[in-house]
Symmetry: C2
Subunit: 208 residues, 2 copies
DNA sequence: AGATTATAGTATCTATTCGAAACTAATGTC
DNA sequence: GACATTAGTTTCGAATAGATACTATAATCT
């Protein structure tokens, strides 16, 4: 029945929303709000090109002003340290303190990770794939950067073979070499690389 | 690699969160905030046992006080109408106005529905199942009702055969008959009934 | 029956988050 | 050099958050 399929896609969308809210949007755990947890989580996962207030604002779908406030708050609580960028004197880099890294083990979000981990391993890959595809489509519709890791990014260069005086990988967007450990950091400049057959226009033509 | 599987479950959790936020947590569309959209969406989907301030508070993972404020706000804006319950004089039933039903077509959440709808139909069912299972686990860990529809609820009684003077279905929890159209409404009293075994691709076909 | 306890909902307080706008400083472009 | 762009902050008013105290009704227990 056509109606059934339509119901399924709506159910999927509702469950994604509900799941995200229940997992993260709840109560003060360790005295932090949902958004504050999101900030710490983000700076723990973002690669070195993306640990800025603006990048977090884009990731979280809020304004730079709001992001600035929340970050300042966490800074005075001793969870973040700020450093001015040498390359761009306007820019600011934020780094988690040990206090922040310690508290992240109690992130309520971890219950969602456990739930995902209890899925049959054979479907986890497909599941992650499908979600990344949905994210690409939604982000494109809303004119937002999709975020993602180097692993499937268009800008990733290199085959993993370490040659003389070179790192095995590099980022074609920033023209910077990449260490192996950096490949799974989340990046604001992510562009879907491997086909993944996304419906609709892909890169470059986001609606304004 | 073992590390890859662990990465996948974390990636799934991150994507669920990110997707939900990008799809709903953004900007003022039609002058409504993300939470206000959530309220309208909830009362559009909740069954007649669940259209109360308390049920919404439980669904949204907030307190009754906060829910009360937001609902009052939407009421004065003409999106909701309130009625006292006859059965329980403490309780309040909320109903969407035509204004609310009209505006719901512009719900930013619909972009997420479209994204889910563009997934291969063959995986949508499994996908919805997996998400419902994850929700069950997370909700249980956090001590929250999971919410769900009659279709897979333990309390659903009846086989769809309409007998004399009876509706084809009934709810064993509330001891109330259920109309066919009511079966896909979201309920706060939902308890997972059928196991919902998620079928994956054949074991062994998975990358090691 | 009466006393106690639990539940549904509201009102009030303070803190946080939000979007918008105005602003500074550094960078880019022509 | 003039101009626009970008990164980040600050300020404002509104909305949301959790916590607490409160009223009214319902359920439970003698």
């Amino acid at each position: 029945m056509i109606k059934e399929l339509k119901m399924d896609s709506r159910a999927i969308a509702e469950l994604v929303l509900h799941l995200g809210r229940i997992a993260s949007g709840e109560g003060l755990v360790e005295g932090l709000t949902a958004v504050q947890w999101a900030v710490l989580r983000y700076f723990a996962r973002a690669n070195r090109f993306s640990r800025t207030p603006s990048a977090f604002a884009a990731f979280h779908g809020t304004t730079r002003g709001t992001a600035s406030q929340t970050i300042k708050n966490l800074e005075t609580q001793g969870y973040l340290t700020r450093m001015r960028s040498e390359a761009d004197r306007r820019s600011v880099r934020l780094v988690l303190t040990d206090k922040a890294r310690g508290i992240l083990a109690n992130d309520p979000f971890e219950s969602l990770v456990r739930a995902a981990d209890s899925l049959p391993p054979s479907v986890q890959g497909h599941f992650a794939n499908a979600l990344q595809r949905m994210l690409g489509q939604v982000a494109w519709e809303r004119g937002k950067p999709p975020f993602g890791t180097c692993a499937s990014c268009k800008h990733l260069e290199g085959d993993g073979a370490s040659r003389e005086g070179q790192t095995p990988y590099a980022c074609g967007f920033s023209s910077e070499p990449l260490l192996l450990e950096e490949l799974d950091g989340v990046c604001i400049n992510f562009v879907q690389g491997k086909p993944m057959t996304v419906k609709g226009p892909v890169a470059g033509a986001a609606p304004r």
